[in-house]
Amino acid sequence: MTTSSSLSDWRVRHQASLDEARYNARVFFKDKLAVVGLVIIVVTIAVAVLAPHIAPYPAQGRGDSNLKERFQAPSTHHLMGTDNQGRDILSRVIYGARIPLIISFTVTAVIVIIGVPLGGIAGYYGGRVDEVVMRITDVFLAFPSLILAITFVAFLGPSIRNVMIAIVVSWWPWYTRLVRGVAVSLRERPYVEAARTMGVRNLTIIWRHILPNAFGPVIVQMTLDIGTVILAAAALSFIGLGAQAPTAEWGLMISEGKDYILQQWWIGTFAGLAIFILVLAFNFVGDGLRDVLDPRSKR
């Protein structure tokens, strides 16, 4: 069998899925804001990866101060001006893209790994397992996530790692509840029932038949949550619990600029603008994905 024939063979067998994917892509790309969001995210990732090559003053982006050029207003030398340490703000905004992306992707991935299987198990087994898991999630959900995270970091000590732990601890129950809802609705479906009577192991049923159906809502929720996690992490750095000087981190940069905001407005303004635009982008993409993957919940 040649490669091309096996490929066309594959195409024939997966015609339906391919059509669906093509249709989904068309729905997504018709949403102008979602496309704009996607472009912003891709550009931000590229900027973060290539930071050493595109930052005009890479050393200052990493934290070196340059006291001779403190408080310079935006100019052709420093497009976004310089801060109280004389560092080029543009370079720091570019380097600052790294932390929020790393934090938000890692944190949401870990949350999903914890929350999703737990929700599947609770919803599928029901009964006492469900009762115990859901009461625990109720307690965690009773805390506004941000104050739980703040309290946690306050006691653990300020650092980016602790911020990530704190956000994971306060966020996982949302996914447990989301997936549990899907699992409960699928538990009694004929095909699940059939798998059970044929002696398929429970965990296999959860993995093969329950969790794939939760894929859409979970992806949508993840995209929207990445934005929220970026905001939460920046907020924690802003009050001094996250990234520590001289790290380039947007929340910390706003905090550094806050005392000078009425005179040297540029110090805090651009970092905040960067957070705003990136979070906005994730929310636009999340909304676009929701129309495609989770059409039942209209926005």
């Binding site: 802003f238 303004t269 926005r299």
Partner: protein
């Protein structure tokens, strides 16, 4: 299940959750690496002083005994003394809470009015450029960092426009000339009740910027929720019927559709209340607003653990109670919820 069985079950659940909240808060302090006794006596203390503090604070007892004492005191209203202010934590919280509540309540009222009106408008004009612009606006509301918005508003309204005060709760000269008699602890309300007009105008002017900062997120959320649940309500047969019968659009939107779309919106308002409680942490820090958030952030930075625990429990309790109230209100408005 009758509606009363639902009410009882829901209240029991809330009590259980509060119990869990207190437990988690207790465990959080005990499992962290930092030693509360060492924090209590300060950084220059000798080992025997730390040991003494450990005995004084009851930290030498087994964990379950400590837990029992902690829970008993919590219920009795003894939340320990703040390490920083040396006053009982509960007194401190009650002192700072009203000014924060004033901020939160006004913010939520503004957010609800603007969010619902804009949400209804966008649902009505779905697919037009108005819808697109409003969508950017509402998504912007939930995407903007409140602490950054605060700084931008300070630049705009204080530095550029010279319209509003930059921070604080009152002007020092006005406060001295026209002191506010504390009744509720909320300055604007107190000034209004006592007819203290100069102080009222002054406090209201100071309230505007922090209130706007705090309103941005709830407004975005309420607007999005109103839009989606209005769209769902407007798809119903009785709305189409009413439209066919010639009911004017305004009546149709605000009376018939909104009434049925309001349930989910109410839930979201309850949820954003909790968000606003934590949102004040950042907003109050920037506007030097002497409220619960200011108390919380200063306590966090000085590792004042009884105060941190107190604020955490208070905020979580407020959140649980508001959600309980919303759920019960919905059960009475729409008995199907209690019966399902």
């Amino acid at each position: 299940m009758t509606i009363w069985a639902y009410v009882v079950r829901r209240i029991a659940l809330a009590v259980l959750v509060l119990f869990g909240v207190a437990t988690i808060t207790f465990l959080m302090v005990r499992i962290v690496p930092s030693d509360p006794a060492a924090v209590y006596v300060g950084s220059n203390a000798r080992p025997e002083q730390i040991a003494q503090a450990r005995r004084d604070l009851g930290l030498d007892k087994p964990l379950y005994v400590q837990y029992g004492i902690y829970m008993k005191n919590l219920v009795k209203g003894d939340w320990g003394d703040s390490l920083r202010t040396k006053r009982p934590v509960l007194n401190d919280i009650m002192h700072f809470l009203p000014t924060s509540l004033e901020l939160i309540i006004t913010a939520l009222v503004v957010a609800t009015i603007v969010g619902v009106i804009f949400g209804v408008t966008t649902a009505h004009r779905k697919g037009t450029w108005i819808d697109l612009v409003m969508r950017v606006f509402s998504t912007g509301g939930v995407s903007i960092p409140a602490f950054w918005l605060a700084l931008m508003l300070q630049i705009a309204f204080f530095r550029v426009l010279h319209l509003l005060p930059v921070a604080g709760q009152s002007d020092i000269f006005v406060a001295q000339a026209h002191p506010i008699t504390a009744i509720t602890g909320m300055p604007v309300v107190d000034a209004l009740i006592t007819g203290n007009w100069p102080a009222f105008t002054d406090s209201a002017r100071h309230l505007v910027l922090p209130m706007l900062c705090l309103a941005a997120y709830p407004m975005g959320v309420i607007m999005r929720m109103t839009r989606s649940s209005m769209l769902e309500a407007m798809g119903n047969d009785y709305i189409r019927m009413a439209r066919a019968l010639g009911v004017p659009p305004r009546t149709l939107l605000y009376k018939d559709a909104l009434k049925n779309a309001f349930g989910p919106v109410l839930t979201v308002i309850g949820l954003t209340f909790a968000y606003s409680l934590t949102g004040t942490f950042f907003v109050e820090l920037i506007f030097a607003w002497p409220g619960l958030g200011y108390y919380a952030t200063t306590s966090i930075l000085s590792m004042d653990y009884p105060a941190i625990m107190g604020v955490t429990i208070m905020v979580a309790a407020a959140y649980v109670l508001v959600n309980l109230a919303v759920d019960l209100a919905q059960a009475f408005l729409d008995p199907r919820i209690a019966l399902s």
